[in-house]
Every structure is written in C-alpha cells, then in structure tokens.
C-alpha cells in the first residue's frame, strides 16, 4: 500500500482550509469552508487553520480570524502573486510538511481543484472531490465525505483513514458562510517560502472576466415564453433578486424581445440549474430538453393542459402577469 508522507499517528488535530484570494477578500467557498471547519473543530476540540498564499497579503489574515480561523499559516512570496499551480503546490507542501494537519479542505473552484489534485498525489494521500457534506469522526480522527456520482444517481460516503492529510474539496454554495466576528483574533504563523522562478512553468498572459452570458452556470434559470408577452423586464427584476439568469423559448427570441444567446432548448442552450422557473411556456419537447436536468422545475401557465406541467415539480395555473409582480414583491419584502 502506498504510504502518505506522514502517518495519521503523526498528524496534528488540525483542520486546514485553503484560502483562495478573490478581490479584496477570499473566494466565497473559502469562507464557507472556514465556517464549516469552525463547526467541526468546535465539536471535536480541534484547531482550525487557514492557509494563505500570495504576495504582500499578510493583512488578509485578519479576515480569516474573523471568519473563525484559530491560526493562519502565511506564505508570502513575490512568485506567489498570481495563482500558479506548480508554484502554489511547492509552497503549500512546505507548510503541510511543517504543520502536518489531519484534514485539509479546499474549495472546488477551477484553481482549487487543480491544487488539490496535484497535492494529493504529491502527499500520496486520498482526495474526495466535490463533497456535499463533511462529518468528522473524532474517535477515529477520520473525515467522512459524502459525494454524489453518476450524474447524481448515487450517493457515497468516502474516507481515507490511513492517509494524511485527509483531503476533500467542496463546491461553492454547499455550506453556508457565517457572519464575520470583528473581535475575533488568532495566531499568525509565518513560513519562509523556498521558491525559484524555474518552478513556475506556466504564465497567465491575459485575463478577461465579466464578458458574455453563460446560462449554463446559473443556479436559477428564469425562462419566459410566449405567455409573458415580451415582459422580460419583470423576469430580469426577478432574476436579480434570486441571483439568477434569464432565458427564453424561441418565440420571444423570434419576436425580438430578447437575444438569441438566451434561447434555451434543443436548438439553443441546455442547462442544469438548481431551479428552473418557467413563465408562460407551454412546454414543447424541444424546450424541455433544455431544462430537463434542473433539480427543481416550477411552471406557471394559464392552460391546465399545458405539457410543461408533466415536467414540473410545482405547477401553477395562473397568468404569469399576475404571479410575477406578486413574487417580486414577496421576495423584496423578505430581503428586508
């Protein structure tokens, strides 16, 4: 059996969370993991540590303390200014060899997955990716990860009891971030980083963020059909309230009410949102194909025989023009 670089018996009862930098703070998933980690650490009496890599970012450690970290392990080096998986792997290894945590969690972002995948191999340890839940068995000091497989058809519980660190990645939005506690403080552990330019073997040459619309990434898809008579303004208002995107069937696109890049269906885009809210859509097959894998489908249509009701979880026989203002109002009130 392949052995990890350090055995569970040598590991410290610590949960480490990789803090991914985003804007002035951290990626939301890092904060969510700190919150979940705090919860697990409290129950088991373990230490929660954030792993912070970058250049000139020591001031960010405070944010991590506020979100619940007991310690922040800081690796500050000019070559870590931008995420590069080879450079970050080298630096992280140094910290892990020093800190020997029992558990190491990373957000399943594009970069998080890259880093986790390399490190797990370098550490000769197990990695459970895209976990939907984490449980810490304190008696055995084992992390149990719940994952789904086969397009959501199967749920598995995974553990690697004989290898350390026990690594798992978690997607954004699975756990809930706690509110920061401004009074909270912690210990900063500064590590000396050994890193050479030659160890960086790829370079980001250009970056374009914030362009185009990608309906396939939206957690909430709000689609309008013929029955909304072109009132996409209301749909956009609703979408803004639920962090969603607006899609459409072919007829409103044809009539010029909305761009073709928002057409959902067989000859448009196929999406798998958490929720698909459909207003004034009859549910022709070629549209259903575009949303049939949504976790929850809600449909509003005036025709009780509309085929879409055969493909929906919640069916409302009513005019979209009546439901939309009422729903927007309800959601706005809830926000306050």
């Amino acid at each position: 059996m392949v052995a990890s670089l350090y055995a569970p018996s040598e590991a410290n009862k610590a949960l480490w969370v990789f803090l991914e930098i985003e804007g002035d703070g951290f990626a939301s998933v890092s904060v969510e993991l700190l919150s979940k980690g705090r919860d697990l650490a409290d129950r088991a009496g373990w230490t929660l540590c954030g792993l912070l890599l970058g250049s000139d970012i020591s001031d960010r450690a405070n944010q991590a303390f506020q979100y619940g970290a007991d310690e922040v392990w800081l690796l500050d080096h000019p070559l870590l200014a931008q995420f590069d998986v080879c450079g970050y792997s080298h630096a992280t290894m140094q910290a892990i060899k020093e800190g020997k945590p029992s558990v190491f969690l990373l957000g399943a972002t594009a970069n998080g997955r890259d880093l986790a995948g390399r490190l797990a191999v370098r550490l000769r340890t197990g990695l459970n990716a895209d976990c939907t839940d984490l449980i810490l068995d304190e008696d055995r000091a084992v992390l149990i990860s719940e994952v789904t497989g086969f397009g959501g058809g199967v749920i598995a519980l995974l553990e690697s009891a004989e290898h350390c660190p026990q690594m798992s990645t978690v997607r954004p939005g699975v756990f809930i971030a706690n509110d920061p506690d401004p009074s909270r403080q912690g210990d900063l552990v500064e590590m000396k980083v050994n890193l050479k330019k030659a160890e960086i073997r790829s370079r980001i040459v250009a970056r374009h963020v914030g362009e185009g619309v990608d309906l396939t990434q939206a957690p909430v898809l709000i689609c309008g059909g013929r029955g909304i008579d072109g009132d996409f303004e209301s749909l956009r208002e609703l979408a803004a309230l639920v962090d969603g995107e607006v899609g459409a069937t072919r007829p409103p696109v044809d009539e010029g009410h909305i761009d073709r890049e928002r057409q959902v269906g067989q000859t448009g885009i196929v999406c798998r949102p958490k929720v698909a809210l459909n207003f004034g859509i009859s549910g022709a097959f070629h549209f259903i194909v575009g949303i049939q894998d949504a976790e929850t489908i809600i449909a509003i249509n005036t025709d009780p025989e509309a085929p879409i009701f055969n493909h929906a979880d919640y069916c409302i026989v009513e005019n979209a023009h009546k439901i939309l203002p009422a729903l927007i109002k309800t959601l706005k009130t809830e926000r306050e």
Binding site: R226, P251, D254, E255, Q266, T267, S282, G283, A284, F285, H286, I288, V289, P307, N310
Partner: protein, 396 residues
C-alpha cells in the same frame, strides 16, 4: 453561387468527386429552372433557393458549403415537376455527404449522428427510457407466430410528448379492431432517417443494416410505422430484408381495417377538417387516399381540401433534417399552411406525421391563431371509436 458570372475555374478533382458521389445523377438536368420556381423556399424568401444553380454546380464541379444546400427539406416538390426526372433530393443529399467528408457541416449536426450512435435516437434521449411513455399499456413484444403486425413507433413518438399521444391513439385503435400486434420495445432500432436526410450516407447504411438485423431476428414481415419518415426509409431506402417484408404506414393499415369491417367509426366529429398531406406520405409515396378514406367514414366530418393538397402538398418545413436547424420566423412554410387552412374555414388540420404536427402547432402558436387545432389521423380515429370501445380490454 457565382456560376453564371463569367469564366470560372473548375477544380477537376472536385468535379470527379461530385460526379462520383452524385453518381452522375445531375447529368440529365438541362437547366430549365422549374425546380427553383416550384421550391417552397420561393414562397418565404425574396430570393428563391436556386435549385437550378446547385444542380449546375454539381454538374460542373463547383461546391460551396452554402446555406442553400442545408435548406432543402427533401419535400420532393421539385422532382414532381422536373421534366428530366433528375432525383434532385438525392443530389442534395449527396452534396451534403461531400460536405461531411470535407468536414464543412453546420454546427449542431454532428451531435445528431453521435446521438444515434450512442443512444439509438437522434433526440439525445436515454435509450433505457424509450418505452417509458407506454407504462401501463401492457404492450407485447413482437412474436411472429402470434402477431399479425409489428407496430413500429419510431424515436419521435417514443420521446416527444406530443407524438406520444398519437402512439397511444394508434394502440387504442388497433385494440378496438382486435388486431394482434407486437412491438420491439427497447430493442426498437432507430430507422436512421435523420442520418439519411442530413446526408451521411455511409453511416445511414450502418444504421439501416443494424435495423435490418433486428427485423430479421424477430422475423418481421408486416411492419406498420407511425411516422411517414420511418415508413419512407423502410420502403425506399433500406436494403432488401426478405421477400415478405412489407412496410406500411398506419393510415394505410387503418384504412384497410375499415374496409375489411374490422373497424367502424361511430363518434361524431362535427368539424371542418382539412387534411395536410405529409410530403413523405402524399407526394413521395403517393398515399393520398388512405387518410381521406378514413376521414370519409367519420360521421359528420366535413372534409375540405386546401389549395396545395395531395401530390402538391405544401411542405411543413420539418423534413430534410431541418428539425435540427433553426428556421427564422417569417420563413416557416407551416405558417403559410396554417393560413391556407384558415382561408378554407377549417377547424381542424388533420395530418399523419409527428414532424408536421410539431411545425403546424408551432406556427399556430406564433401566429396567435385560436380557432384551429392540429390532430393526427390516429387521434381523430380514436375520438371516433365511440364510448363502447374505451371499456374493451383486448388481450393479444
């Protein structure tokens, strides 16, 4: 195409490819232009689809990966009027085949082929769910020693909820007539029509052979198909299965049942009905009588003919693989068809093809028409069975 604008460079290699792939079928064309004049694209566009130029190109060895080649709906209207009997639809399909070889096909078509390959249907639907629609219908797997016919549903009827209602109607009608029929269930092979029309002939041969193997395994002789698309390929494009293989369209079969007194229609329809001949039924395979024969026996069905009827039927726009391509509004043949039905005062457009139903209903919706409904002949027949038939439990 720039064909008529002065001296052109002819690529000999391309010319040879074209002659070979079209099997020289464009050769008899003498450029009269009737095809262009009669093509339904001329009804929806200012510039008609220049079928003539494309034929000329095929003769001369000129090929551009033009939108035009993908516009053809394989309706066959041009072929009816061509004075030289040029198989124009086939020439278009051969040109598409060449474009496949050169990898110059429009986006969105290759996934259709892969869908047939991995899922046994062009609709990217799970093969294991092919028979889900028939839950509770108690359909029997075909047994050549017991069953008179194999009822072949096809992919659209298996997966498209609108077409499933037609499938259920046919089942009820056959049971009312005491017909002993079987199905192939999950083993029902895709007929491959989409592959043929999209122009990938070599792959179509494989799909057809696979289907033939299954029909042979089940010892199928008489096959009744729901869709004229499936029916057409079985009848005209499949290799010989055996002497006794006889594909029928369900309208033929039901018309025969009525004539043989195995089925009597009693339910009152009280509607003005116009029959829209699907191209592959009425024009290409000359089956204009059976659907009308059925309608004639329905009490109180007033049948009115639209101007383009029978062999002159106006294509709905869904054939030739067009169901997988976007047709901009204002260019949809079915809009014109709906207007024809309205103009003759019909309450119902009857048809016998799931693709026609889809196109016509789409047009009715987008035109905001409320007084016209689309019904399949099977659904009308089912409605006309009368109350008694619904209580019959027929065992196969």
């Amino acid at each position: 195409m720039t064909v008529d604008k002065g001296p052109i460079e002819i690529d000999d290699a391309l010319w040879e490819e074209l002659i070979e792939i079209t099997d020289g079928k464009a050769a008899p064309c003498y450029q009269c232009g009737v095809c262009t004049a009669i093509c339904p694209w001329g009804l929806v566009r200012d510039e008609p689809l220049s079928v003539r130029s494309i034929m000329r190109g095929a003769q001369l060895g000129l090929l551009e990966a033009e939108e035009a080649i993908w516009l053809c709906t394989a309706c066959g209207q041009c072929e009816i009027y061509c004075p030289r009997g040029v198989p124009i639809v086939e020439v278009f399909q051969s040109l598409r085949q060449l474009l496949w070889e050169k990898r110059k096909t429009p986006a969105g078509l290759t996934p259709i082929l892969w869908s047939v390959y991995w899922n046994n249907n062009p609709l990217s639907q799970p093969p294991s769910q092919r028979m889900d629609w028939a839950d509770g219908l108690n359909l029997q797997i075909f047994d050549s020693t017991k069953h008179e016919i194999l009822l072949y549903f096809g992919c659209t009827a298996s997966y498209d909820s609108r077409a499933q209602s037609v499938a259920r109607a046919i089942v009820e009608v056959l049971r009312a007539a005491d017909v002993s029929f079987g199905i192939l269930g999950e083993e029902e092979p895709c007929c491959g029509e989409a592959v043929l029309r999209l122009g990938h002939s070599p792959y179509f041969q494989d799909v057809a052979q696979h289907a033939v193997d299954i029909f042979e395994k089940f010892d199928v002789s008489k096959l009744v198909a729901l869709s004229p698309h499936c029916y057409d390929v079985f009848r005209n494009h499949y290799p010989n299965i055996n002497e006794s293989f006889e594909p029928l369209h369900y309208t033929e079969y039901i018309a025969n049942l009525i004539e043989a007194d195995r089925l009597t229609l009693v339910g009152n329809l009280s509607s003005k009905i116009s029959f829209h001949d699907p191209c592959l039924l009425g024009r290409v395979n000359e089956l204009t009588d059976p659907p009308r024969a059925i309608l004639e026996t329905v009490p109180d069905a007033h049948v009115i003919e639209m101007p383009h009827s029978g062999p002159d039927t106006l294509c709905c726009g869904g054939g030739g693989g067009r169901m997988w391509m976007e047709t901009p509004p204002g260019e949809r043949f079915s809009d014109l068809r709906v207007q024809e039905a309205l103009d003759v005062g019909a309450d119902i457009i009857a048809t016998a093809c799931p693709l026609c139903i889809s196109c016509l209903e789409d047009s009715i919706g987008s035109m905001g028409v409320t007084k016209l409904k689309v019904r399949d002949i099977a659904e009308i027949t089912q409605m006309a069975l009368g109350q008694e038939s619904k209580n019959d439990v027929v065992e196969e």
